[in-house]
């Protein structure tokens, strides 16, 4: 449930962030567009000012030319013509400039054309008066001026120019208004954009922090769960250790206390035996005495005494063998319990050398039964030397003990994985019935024909040791074909096992 609502909220977060980023991109586009717009607005405003300026200068130059012409006509002084001559090309040039400037505005272009016409006409009139005056026809020139055609032209030029300037002023206002509006819009959108960035940033920070908090919370939960788990494991391990110790102590005490009555049984049985000797000696002596007294003893009576002696001996013999056997069993339990309490000393062990020394120690027996023992590739391992010696001595000893009497063959092999060292002891001997595969590892349990000495201890001991070393032992066998014992051990000594073995 929690995970579904969480994934929903994650999708919602993503969606929100996505929308916010799209908005940001739109705003950035708008800002770019507005900046572009305001640049072109500024250019237009500058353009308007330029047109106004050109018009003003044009008018000024026309006036200058006119005042030069008038001055010359009035004073007949040649230097007045300088102004006229200077103004004329400038007017030409300014008309051209104006034409170029107003190409974008058809109405203004028409006005510019009209202005050019008027200006040209004005200059034609002025040149004509100047030429007339230069050629001495002063009166004609004066009459032309007085005729008022030039003045009308000038007036019209001024009217046209003023109109255009005023119109340009209107355009200027319009454009600068628009430019201001653009700037304001730009400012507003920039502010909105900034605000949006702040909001998105804040939201992102909030999300990151919330995620971080959630992760931290989850981690803490995990840690506490782990710690809890560890303490549970520790608790259980301690429990098991305690139980194990209890069993070891129990085995020790029981076997120990069992020995005590055994000493008595054994002791008094022997005492009885000694008594029997005394009694029978006395009986024999009595018989002798009777014989000496000439009283014939029936042979049957002597036989009866003999039989009685045999029965006595048999009973005591059985009691004593049983006691000895019981003593061996108790000693075995004691040994196992003592082994269970022994502390391991892990070290790096050259298994090939160890296997060789074990095989050497049984070489004599192997030669007697004609058994071949082969040691293959066995990898080294970090473990307890004594324990491994006991394990493999037992396995090799068993292989020899239950091996084939003719042409026995024992193979010792090994291999290693990343974490485990595996050893196999294989023989071609009598094998173990599948129904006994588990039983043979139990204390005092044996399998097959009981024609070999033993108490059923070896494999129980081996399995207990392998387990304490942190490994396990497996058996595959078929009756009459042989057995294979596989011992799997950790390649490296594990720390917690030292604790287990210390228990």
């Amino acid at each position: 449930m929690a995970s579904i609502s969480e994934s929903f909220s994650r999708i919602r977060q993503g969606l929100l962030l996505g929308i916010a980023f799209v908005l940001l991109i739109v705003i950035a586009g708008m800002i770019a567009w507005l900046v572009e717009q305001s640049t072109s607005d500024a250019a237009l405003v500058a353009h308007t000012l330029q047109v106004q300026n050109t018009l003003s200068e044009l008018l000024l130059n026309v006036r200058r030319a006119e005042s030069g012409q008038r001055g010359y006509l009035f004073t007949n002084q040649q230097h007045y013509l300088d102004d006229f001559n200077e103004a004329a090309p400038e007017v030409e040039q300014q008309l051209q400039e104006l034409h170029d400037l107003v190409l974008d505005n058809p109405a203004r272009l028409a006005e510019a054309a009209r202005l050019k016409e008027l200006t040209d006409a004005k200059f034609v009139e002025m040149r004509r008066t100047i030429e007339l005056n230069q050629s001495g026809q002063r009166e004609d020139a004066r009459a032309l001026v007085l005729g008022g055609a030039g003045r009308d032209l000038a007036a019209e030029i001024r009217k046209l120019t003023d109109g255009a300037i005023a119109d340009e002023a209107r355009l200027f206002n319009e454009r600068s208004n628009r430019s201001r509006l653009n700037s304001q819009t730009l400012l507003a959108i920039s502010l909105v954009g900034t605000l949006l960035i702040v909001v998105i940033g804040g939201f992102s920070i909030y999300l990151v922090q919330r995620n971080y908090r959630q992760r931290e919370l989850a981690q803490r939960e995990l840690e506490s769960t782990n710690a809890n788990l560890e303490s549970i494991v520790e608790y259980r391990t301690a429990d098991l250790q305690e139980a194990n110790e209890e069993i070891q102590r129990f085995a020790y005490i029981v076997s120990h206390d069992l020995r005590s009555p055994l000493v008595n049984i054994m002791g008094f049985t022997t005492e009885l035996e000694m008594l029997r000797k005394d009694i029978f000696e006395r009986v024999a002596k009595l018989q002798e005495d009777i014989t000496r007294l000439q009283a014939p003893v029936e042979p049957a009576a002597a036989d009866a005494v003999n039989d009685l002696g045999k029965d006595f001996d048999e009973a005591i013999g059985i009691i004593k063998t049983s006691i000895e056997r019981m003593d061996r069993l108790i000693n075995a339990v004691l040994k196992l319990s003592r082994e269970g309490r022994r502390q391991f000393n892990p070290e790096q062990i050259d298994m090939a050398a160890m296997m060789k020394s074990i095989v050497d120690s049984v070489a004599h027996r192997a030669a007697e039964s004609g058994t071949q023992i082969e040691i293959g590739d066995v990898s080294p391992v970090e473990s307890d030397r004594l324990a491994l010696e006991q394990i493999f001595s037992n396995l090799i000893d068993n292989a020899l003990k239950y091996g084939r009497p003719d042409g026995g063959h024992i193979e010792i092999n090994g291999r290693a994985t990343a974490t485990q060292a595996i050893y196999e002891v294989r023989d071609n001997g009598r094998g173990i019935d599948p129904k006994d595969h588990q039983r043979v590892f139990e204390l005092f349990r044996r399998s097959g024909v009981q024609d070999r000495p033993g108490e059923g201890l070896g494999l129980a001991h081996v399995r207990a040791l392998v387990r304490r070393l942190g490994g396990h032992i497996g058996l595959s066998s078929e009756l009459g074909k042989g057995s294979q014992f596989t011992v799997t051990l950790p390649r490296r000594w594990m720390q917690d096992k030292t604790r287990r073995s210390a228990a």
């Binding site: 020995r259 000493v263 054994m266 008094f268 003593d327």
Partner: protein, 150 residues
């Protein structure tokens, strides 16, 4: 301080809860020709009472040559405690203590010697060995010098 060897015959205090064992031990000691008085106790409390007296000071045995045969597994206390008390008592600390028990645990043996036990013997189940051990112990008893308690 009386540091001379006692003229009195040594008395053997046998602390052994198993009456059968006690009987077998006594038989075999006698067979070795040891005729000293043997005081058998089948539990720790009585043995302690005898060794240390009613006041628990041990002064009752002052001047008496004693030898203690001690089993470790007693019904009411462990023999180790008795050993410790004997070896820390000012009057009877020099009394030789022979621990005769079924335990052959190395740690236990070490502990007893650490506490001042003089001889530690494990009872063998095999009776021949047992009888032999006790007889030798008897021979040992017949030759060792035992100081009188201070």
């Amino acid at each position: 301080m009386n540091s001379q060897i006692s003229e009195l015959p040594v008395e053997i205090v046998m602390v052994e809860d198993d009456e059968g064992h006690a009987r077998l031990i006594e038989k075999n000691i006698r067979r070795a020709g040891v005729n000293n008085r043997i005081m058998p106790f089948t539990n720790g409390t009585e043995a302690v009472k005898y060794l240390f007296g009613a006041d628990g000071s041990g002064s009752v045995n002052k001047g008496k040559p004693l030898l203690v045969l001690l089993d470790l597994n007693l019904p009411d206390m462990t023999g180790v405690d008795i050993l410790k008390r004997i070896k820390t008592n000012e009057h009877i600390k020099r009394v030789p203590v022979v621990v005769l028990t079924t335990t052959d645990d190395a740690v236990e043996i070490q502990r007893c010697y650490d506490l001042g036990c003089n001889v530690y013997i494990t009872k063998p189940v095999n009776y021949d060995s047992f009888a032999n051990a006790i007889r030798q112990l008897g021979l040992f008893f017949s030759v060792i010098q035992v100081p009188a308690s201070d």
